[in-house]
Symmetry: C2
Subunit: 145 residues, 2 copies
């Protein structure tokens, strides 16, 4: 299967919005910048809106903009808003009920997954959209120079 890149795509979209936090960008504009389809933009933005990261405005002059300042939005916010599938998964099939290990395994793995994902989001929470935008502009300057 294609692995989900919604987090990467979401960060990209939001970095674009961070350039002008006060104005709306249309899904067409964002789709052109990222070479994807406007419906893909709207789909992902729907999740981000539900999480309170962006707000949308219909009709002429409308579009999407950040709901908070770039420095108030962390990558953990983005991750939790858009990540549909978690990085670690239980098997779909139930284990053998006669096996003591198998019976206990599911609960143990869930605990482990919870701790591991907490570690992941804690790290993501250390970076804000403002950091991302700054890095992007710095890289651009370095590359142009």
């Amino acid at each position: 299967m294609p692995a989900s890149c919604q987090f990467a795509t979401g960060v990209h979209f939001l970095a674009l919005l961070s350039q002008s936090p006060d104005s709306f960008l249309t899904s067409n504009e964002i789709a052109e910048s990222t070479l994807t389809h406007p419906v893909v933009v709207r789909r992902l933005m729907a999740s981000l809106q539900e999480a309170g990261v962006v707000e949308t405005q219909k009709g002429p002059g409308g579009g999407v903009r950040l709901a908070r300042l770039p420095r108030q939005i962390t990558l953990a916010d983005v991750y939790q808003a858009v990540q549909t599938s978690e990085p670690l998964h239980l098997p779909h099939t139930e284990p053998n009920k006669n096996c003591p290990i198998g019976q206990a395994m599911q609960g143990i793995l869930e605990e482990i997954f919870t701790r591991a994902e907490a570690a992941l989001t804690n790290e993501l929470a250390r970076t804000t959209l403002s950091d991302v935008l700054e890095s992007a502009l710095a890289r651009h300057r370095a590359h142009s120079a």
Copy 2:
């Protein structure tokens, strides 16, 4: 696509091996305990063998056993051995080359992914197979009582 559960499956297999670190288990035995197919066991064990976590023995009396003591194998070892796809992914399509943000995005995201996955594996490194087996047996006792 079905999300990969190789890490969960691997931990389960290795917990079984941890019960008797000195003896070989056949892929048939492991497959029965976990209600999966022997080829699935062998496939996953091949990765774990390449990583030096288990060793195999062909022929009668053969099978798979741990290459080190359970307390010397961490879940980070398992994760790094079997995780084919990473939890975070870049988009497959290249971004717009005319966009300063898009150009820089890929490198920035790679840095972020590296830090996030390091945080994940650091957390996984805190748990050993010995811990997992102990938790499993404790849960089994609690459930039986």
